[in-house]
């Protein structure tokens, strides 16, 4: 007897593959390799309102489509608002590529996402570890990629990042951060804003979002392992949807 081919499932898998393949992130990571390895840190730095969260959500979406569990940690934003970011990005993607069957895919990827929100003042790695243990021990969720949105890069951040690095290595997940810079914040020689420069050594990859008249350029500020060519003239964020796209 021949194998049964389930068309619905197959089309969904194809859809996912298609999305993964066509994701402009592929222009950032060379040859489809993973951008970050276990315990590694990546950052996206930009001023307020330029698209840091949208960038992180697109990284998350790529991991979710790959069937990876994404832990999204947001400081000072309610769960509902974070959910809205995902819905927006997902809807923009389905509209852009004119997908049908979006609902099934959405439900499937939701199973791989977990949102944790903290008040920024209350956030510390001890509590995070406690929460994670609750989830892992009960078999509810184990993160494979972690996003931290809204962490303040002030004088205390090194301690938090150091602890988080240990946790990330221990649990084996890479970590992405949004890093808010300020318009008049001075930059050090290497191009990092001062707030990031103090902890730059902990990061493996750093992208910068730089708004110009019509687009938001994505620049590589740091690439420890030399995985990327500067995508500046190839991948940008569309300011209306904050979706990554090839530059015209």
């Amino acid at each position: 007897m021949g194998d049964i081919i389930y068309l619905v499932e197959r089309s969904l898998t194809m859809l996912k593959h298609d999305l993964i393949k066509r994701n402009p992130l592929r222009l950032l990571d060379s040859e489809g390799s993973r951008i970050l390895g276990e315990g590694e840190f990546g950052g996206v730095v930009a001023r307020a309102g330029v698209g840091k969260t949208a960038f992180l959500v697109q990284v998350a979406m790529d991991s979710l489509l790959n069937g990876k569990n994404v832990l999204h940690i947001s400081l000072d934003q309610p769960v509902k608002k974070v959910c809205l970011w995902y819905e927006e990005v997902f809807n923009s993607i389905t509209e852009e590529y004119n997908f049908k069957n979006g609902n099934t895919l959405w439900e499937e990827i939701l199973l791989h996402r977990f949102i944790m929100t903290f008040k920024s003042g209350d956030f510390n790695i001890e509590i995070l570890e406690e929460r994670l243990n609750d989830l892992i021990e009960q078999g509810i969720f184990f993160p494979q990629v972690c996003l931290v949105d809204g962490l303040k890069f002030d004088e205390t951040v090194r301690e938090i990042l150091n602890e988080l690095k240990l946790l990330a290595k221990d649990q084996g997940f890479p970590c992405w951060f949004s890093i808010k810079s300020h318009r008049d914040e001075p930059k050090v020689e290497s191009g990092f804003p001062v707030s990031l420069a103090q902890v730059e050594d902990l990061f493996d990859v750093v992208f910068e979002l730089a708004p110009s008249t019509n687009e938001i350029e994505i620049r590589v500020l740091k690439d420890k392992a030399g995985r990327f060519k500067d995508p500046g003239d190839r991948v940008v964020l569309d300011p209306s949807t904050f979706l990554m796209k090839k530059s015209d």
């Binding site: 769960v79 439900e107 939701l110 977990f114 944790m116 929100t117 929460r131 609750d134 509810i140």
Partner: protein
């Protein structure tokens, strides 16, 4: 009745359960001289708060039915609707909000913005109801009105601004500082009835000035005059109040008041605020649909001389028959008038017209535009629009969710049977989310509603108010069936055994319809099925949707396309094609990989952080998908989506897992396909029951 619409306020008091709204309403009625003694909500003195007039409510200390009442304050007439707090009764809250012009959002100064406050706020925003916030229970340990204001901003996105600051907190709570008049306000007398104004205590002057600056900053966004006055440093009270009022009416500013209703503090300034900042009926735009002009929207005017448009928003069965709560939007409703019910098409004569004060009433001659009153002896259902005969207007339909849970009830004896029917007939008229019907196969009476507690309350009311003893079956989830793939049919219905024959053939396919219940399309060309029988086919297919073949629940999300068929010049008929369509559907249904859908509830649990793991575990065990957790210091909010079928008895589980310190709310979110193993079990169970019944 006075006829100045500018002096009318129709307000609702909405809040999280236990935030103290019933106590607040009680105090409002006391200070406005509508009642002459204060009673406890929990009914310790055996009397119970006036607004909680139903025995059951007294016993549970919660408000279930919204009762309309009115009072007067400083030359203004205020109609108040006390609204229920439990999420199962949100239809009552929504109905109340539909007819109100403004609201008071009561928040607990300890609990702050809780999950139900979010639901209530969403409803207020849906109906564009401007609101004031009242931070209650400032005398409680842990009271922190400043924290609540922050939560209003963060969680509800309100531009909340303090109108007062507290003088002392917790057991030292003494009064408030009014930031508009810059006076300290104290409440003397055994029931706080004497309001005393003093200079601000010196230790609070700096804080009061700082907060007043914030208030002026926020208010000046709505008034250039105020902005200029602020620059000059001289701000008249009226100018500041006008600006705050403008912001409030636009729902862009939420003035925050505070006090302790239980300790009789802060209620009178809140009443002043209702008259200052909440809109009168003429300031609110209400629209009706003109049924004669393809439901075109018509803006109503709160003019008592115009033709009548009134909405029956609530029914109650009282000692003297059905009492219909009504809001008049335009014109005047007078005793003896003939009015027209736009739903039933009947003309009715207005008998007694009354004004309600909880369960007491006073007879009045008329209800002018902008007012809320009640009628006797009018046969209607809630949501009906009444107009002057000749006008076919309907108020926009209210958002009514479908019930998600049902259970079978069996009367104990014949007497109970009669009483049960009476009770059900009244409840279904009163509450559109509560339904009742008889299952013809089992002969059982099934009631359905929005949650376990919702049905429980009606069963208790049946016993208490109608003396109808009923035994109750296990709650049943309102499953649905759907198809997951396309399947073709080609079915011939043929019956030619003596007498007039029946013949009809239909061919085509069925396919999933993701965003709808049912769609029918005919691609018949060349008269393969005569035009007059196409509607018969649709009727037959539609009838098939009522009961699925897996569990017997309604089918949803199916598109039927017919593209071929055959008719007989003599034997084909409407009946024959209906039967053919039913047969065709049956033929295709099982091929279309049918699936079972179940209601998924959005569950929000608020728990002390130390129980977070236990709560997540309990949700996970119930096939719940945890969307996220929100850490808020000592407390934590967990949001999850859980199948309703798994949520029965969850309150007990949650109580024991958290030492009674957590609470949860639940509302319908969506229908989702049940997992394969659960579906198999359900089908097996349904088959066994079918066998048993046979």
């Amino acid at each position: 009745m006075k006829r100045d619409p500018a002096k009318i306020r129709n307000i609702g008091i909405s809040a999280h359960i236990d935030a103290g709204k019933t106590t607040l309403t009680e105090r409002i009625l006391y200070y406005t001289n509508r009642i002459h003694a204060i009673h406890d909500v929990k009914g310790k003195d055996g009397v119970g708060a006036t607004m909680d007039f139903m025995e059951l409510e007294k016993e549970r200390g919660i408000t279930i039915t919204s009762a309309a009442t009115y009072c007067e304050w400083r030359g203004h007439e205020i109609n108040i609707i006390d609204t229920p707090g439990h999420v199962d009764f949100t239809i009552e809250v929504e109905r109340a909000l539909r007819v109100l012009d403004g609201g008071i959002l009561v928040l607990c100064s300890v609990g702050g913005v809780q999950s139900q406050s979010i639901t209530v706020d969403r409803q207020m925003s849906r109906y564009h109801v401007p609101c004031l916030a009242f931070v209650n229970k400032c005398d409680r340990t842990g009271a922190n009105p400043y924290k609540v204001v922050e939560q209003l901003k963060e969680k509800l996105g309100h531009n909340a601004v303090l109108m007062q600051i507290p003088i002392g907190l917790e057991s030292d709570f003494d009064g408030v500082v009014d930031l508009v008049t810059m006076k300290a306000v104290y409440f003397d007398g055994s029931n706080g009835e004497h309001v005393r104004y003093e200079e601000i205590p010196s230790e609070l002057v700096a804080e009061a000035e700082k907060r007043r600056e914030e208030l002026i900053d926020a208010a000046s966004m709505f008034s250039d005059e105020l902005m200029e006055a602020a620059l000059e440093g001289e701000i008249p009270e009226d100018l500041l109040r006008d600006a705050i009022r403008k912001g409030t009416l636009k729902r862009e500013l939420t003035p925050v008041f505070m006090g302790s209703a239980y300790k009789n503090k802060g209620v009178q300034p809140l009443l002043d605020a209702v008259t200052y900042y909440l809109p009168h009926p003429a300031e609110v735009e209400n629209k009706a649909l003109d049924l004669d002009r393809d439901e075109e929207e018509v803006v109503l005017e709160a003019d008592p001389e115009k033709p009548l448009v009134a909405l029956a928003f609530k029914l109650e069965e009282g000692r003297y028959g059905q009492l219909t709560y009504i809001r008049v939007y335009q014109g005047t409703l007078r005793k003896g008038d003939m009015i027209f019910n736009n739903r039933s098409g009947q003309k009715v004569k207005v008998g007694r017209v009354v004004r309600m004060h909880a369960n007491q009433m006073e007879d009045i001659e008329s209800i002018p535009a902008g007012y809320i009153g009640a009628l006797f002896g009018i046969d209607c259902v809630s949501g009906d629009t009444f107009t002057t005969p000749g006008y076919r207007y309907s108020m926009t339909s209210m958002h009514v969710p479908d019930p998600v849970i049902s259970l079978a009830i069996v009367p104990a004896d014949n007497k109970a049977q009669v009483n049960m029917s009476k009770a059900l007939s009244r409840f279904t008229k009163e509450d559109p989310t509560f339904r009742a019907y008889v299952n013809h196969e089992t002969g059982e009476t099934i009631i359905s509603g929005m949650g376990e507690l919702h049905l429980e309350v009606y069963i208790e009311r049946m016993k208490r108010e109608y003396n109808a003893e009923v035994s109750v079956g296990a709650p049943q989830v309102a499953y649905r069936e759907t198809i997951t793939k396309r399947a073709e049919f080609n079915y011939t219905h043929k019956k030619q055994t003596g007498g007039a024959g029946q013949f009809g053939r239909v061919a085509g396919w069925i396919e999933p319809l993701p965003d709808g219940d049912f769609e029918f399309e005919s691609q018949i060309v060349g008269g393969a099925i005569p035009t007059e029988f196409i509607p018969s086919c649709e009727k037959g297919f539609r009838a098939s949707m009522e009961k699925g073949l897996l569990l017997g629940f309604p089918i949803t999300g199916v598109k039927v396309v017919i593209n071929d068929g055959q008719a007989h010049s003599v034997d084909s008929s409407d009946m024959a094609f209906q039967a053919a369509a039913r047969g065709a559907f049956k033929e295709a249904y099982m091929k279309a990989k049918p699936a079972i859908l179940e209601p998924i509830m959005k569950v929000v649990v608020e728990t002390p952080a130390e129980f977070q793991g236990a709560v997540m575990g309990s949700l996970n065990q119930r096939r719940g998908m945890i969307i996220g957790t929100q850490d808020e210091g000592d407390m934590c909010v967990i949001e999850a989506e859980v199948p309703l079928a798994e949520m029965f008895g969850y309150s007990t589980v949650l109580r024991s897992a958290t030492q009674g310190k957590a609470q949860f709310t639940m509302e319908f979110a969506t229908y989702k396909q049940v997992p394969k193993n659960v579906a198999e079990e359900l089908i097996k169970k349904a088959q066994e029951e079918k066998k048993k019944a046979a």
